[in-house]
């Protein structure tokens, strides 16, 4: 039972480069989310999706793009990475109010 998986787990990139973080779930949950985790800020919602082809902004969407062409995949793209986007990114899906999280993707932007 794979559940929800994220890739890559670790990524180092340079300012200005495009980066895509992948998220895949095997439960067919309708809702999926991207959060970033930063010291002093806790978890902040970047984008979420209610179903395939339906996405909406969260609390901190600037600089990020998402898509959801299939229910099971919810990639997050940083179109032009900045140092302030250095963070740990968590993907999650939900069922009956409970969120199920991936293991996280640690991104460093130099």
């Amino acid at each position: 039972d794979a559940g929800i998986t994220q890739s890559p787990r670790y990524k180092i990139t340079e300012t200005g480069r495009q980066v895509t973080l992948m998220c895949h779930q095997t439960w067919s949950h309708s809702y999926m989310f991207w959060y970033r985790q930063d010291l002093g800020h806790g978890l902040r919602l970047i984008y979420y999706s209610a179903a395939a082809d339906i996405t909406d902004k969260g609390e901190v969407p600037d600089g990020y793009v998402v898509s959801r062409s299939k229910t099971e995949n919810f990639p997050l793209t940083l179109e032009s990475a900045t140092r302030s986007q250095t963070s740990v990114y968590f993907c999650a899906s939900s069922r009956t109010g409970e969120l199920f999280f991936g293991e996280g993707s640690r991104l460093t932007v130099l």
Partner: protein, 111 residues
């Protein structure tokens, strides 16, 4: 706007001592409150939610609407309770289980 506040970023107790992790929220309606936990090298996972009224791993939390609080308590802390704890809120403004999280409290239980 809804908001979750965890006033303590760090909390350190000794094994066997009682522990209370504070959580306050602001929300105009009837929220649903959660506690999530992240153990070292593990995923974030649900610890408990107020509607279930369960005790998980000895932890309990009571929703106090008058004080707008949802503090997490355990009478006798164990070393394995050391982790990052997040309080979270969901309500009609955040449909589909979209949660607003607090900043988190890092709990350390010393031997």
């Amino acid at each position: 706007a809804q908001r979750v506040t965890q006033p303590e970023k760090l909390l350190s107790v000794f094994k066997g001592a009682p522990v209370e992790l504070k959580c306050n929220y602001s929300y105009s309606g009837s929220p649903e409150l959660f506690w999530y936990v992240q153990y070292s090298r593990q995923r974030l996972q649900l610890l408990l939610r107020h509607i279930s009224r369960e005790s998980i791993k000895g932890f309990t939390a009571d929703l106090n609407k008058g004080e707008t609080s949802f503090h997490l308590k355990k009478p006798f802390a164990q070393e394995e309770d050391s982790a990052m704890y997040y309080c979270a809120l969901s309500g009609p403004e955040t449909s589909g289980s979209r949660l607003t999280f607090g900043e988190g409290t890092q709990l350390t239980v010393n031997p």
